[in-house]
Symmetry: C2
Subunit: 320 residues, 2 copies
């Protein structure tokens, strides 16, 4: 019995492209797609590598889910509506169960956001997953990093630090209670991409980014590109009960400020738009954590106004 790569791709991944803007999906040299009139195309590409972007013991289903979720999170940060994905999958060997579970995780999330898988590549190699995701945004409605203004309010969706805490627990750098680890691990392995929040923020947020490398590191992209600074109020950072407990015991705010994999949105809003934004983002939740300043740099303050000194600025694959 012989499985060619073509059989393999078709077996696990075809038959899910059900959008009428797909002229030609999987099965030719390239996909052919119709971008709606008046919309700009938004494209993002992410690669996930075992041991770097997910722990080796992550389930195939969670890997499939997460490999699409991180790209959905990028499109959310642009205010874009997801449409089409391509997937390049390098796997060490043909493993039917793994592929079935991986494709289930990937395609279930794809279906939720009406994303058609339109092409890709399958090769033999060390486990590595690259997803390119395409979406649309009406011309001039895209959310960028470089438009934050002095006195804009800084918001984040959801809660921060849970994924970092889970990773520390898995790596045995921390002793976590099993139930807490289980809850936190869900946030690490299957983050919720804030697609609806991103769409709601079109025309309302002055700048937006998704938090993949840690709040400070990603907010710094906004402040640097916008030539401004920021003040963050530690007591306003939104925390899950588990992370709140950890902070109460350790005062290790770096876990919240600088650990990666949150996949929440961080965005800035003028005071005029405060009420409207808070009423629109009820599903994901959103919390005002500080404000944009003219003074450059990012300062993190305790409730008494004293400065928290952080020596880390976020996850960096090539820091030496």
């Amino acid at each position: 019995m012989s499985f060619s790569e073509f059989d393999l791709i078709e077996k696990f991944f075809s038959g899910h492209a059900n959008r009428d803007d797909v002229v030609l999906g999987i099965g030719d040299d390239a996909a052919v797609l119709n971008v709606p009139a008046g919309q700009q195309l938004v494209v993002t590409m992410d690669t996930l590598i075992e041991g770097v972007h997910f722990p080796a013991e992550t389930s195939a289903e969670d890997i499939g889910y997460k490999s699409l979720a991180v790209s959905l999170s990028d499109l959310a940060a642009m205010g874009a509506e997801p449409a089409w994905a391509t997937l390049s999958l390098a796997i060490p060997a043909y493993d039917k169960t793994w592929l079935k579970d991986f494709s289930h995780g990937f395609l279930t999330l794809a279906q939720k956001y009406n994303v058609a898988l339109v092409g890709g590549d399958t090769v033999r190699g060390p486990l590595s997953i690259t997803v390119q995701l395409h979406g649309f945004v009406p011309a001039h409605k895209v959310l960028r990093r470089d438009r934050a203004c002095n006195n804009d309010l800084i918001y984040v969706t959801g809660t921060l630090g849970d994924a970092g805490l889970a990773l520390a627990g898995l790596q045995n750098n921390l002793n976590l209670e099993p139930m807490a680890l289980k809850r936190l691990r869900k946030r690490l392995d299957s983050p919720t991409p804030r697609v609806e929040a991103g769409l709601a923020l079109r025309g309302l947020a002055s700048a937006c980014i998704d938090i993949s490398d840690g709040l400070l590191s990603d907010l710094a992209h906004i402040t640097n590109k916008s030539s401004v600074g920021a003040e963050i109020m530690l007591q306003h950072l939104p925390l899950s009960t588990d992370t709140e407990q950890y902070i109460a015991q350790s005062n290790d705010w770096n876990m919240v400020l600088s650990s990666g994999d949150d996949y929440e949105l961080c965005f800035t809003v003028s005071a005029d738009n405060k009420t409207r934004v808070e009423s629109l983002l009820t599903a994901s939740g959103c919390t005002c954590i500080g404000k944009i300043t003219l003074q450059a740099g990012i300062r993190c303050l305790y409730s008494d106004g004293s400065l928290y000194e952080s020596d880390k600025t976020g996850f960096d694959h090539f820091a030496v």
Copy 2:
């Protein structure tokens, strides 16, 4: 001294997006692009892995070149005009010389075809390169695999088998004269994507594919999708002098019929379009190698009409 992945990407790859349809290139969560009115978007994704898609001793410049060339070849097979690329690069460690050479190979070819690099990802991992390439084709002008008709003539561009012969020489399966190996290796390491030929074939070819896995394997995609068969005349297969010599000595037609990495186009044309196609494809050259038949399957014939029996059908990453 610390190089972050952001520095790294910007250092080697930014500043080359000079197309006015790029609204936002490298440096945000995603790129924002304008697809011209009346054009369909064509997207292809390919992953190259060391030891699978290129020998370990391949130069960084050739790897950079080839990783874009294979995607350009896919777009050529669709009759699409290349526009934007994204690049995901997994590298084991930060190596300035390697990155400089890789980006030089990639960007030189990109510039030749006016391709803007608009985004991507850089991660630490075993060497692996994924390129997604976007192009345009006017609505309904795309070249597909599934429209070949009985009696259509089958053509290929360039010459076949050179890359396969080079690989066999490098792997010491064959003893090649050093100068011959050098010539053949150029075909393996820096194939010429047939972009101009693909554009010229719009509205003329009934079906088209690029030969990445070997002529028989790729032509079989055309015949299967079009529900037809094919007859190939061995004496008409276009060969370089080096490959011609090898065949004269070995009669090993499998090297020409089934080895991968040619990156020539294989296409079908009705007899009515024969003269026009031959006059248009002078740069790449094109050779009629056989014809489409109603009878299913692909038959390869010697000049006396006797059948060549091939036991291979092309390169397959997951054949077991």
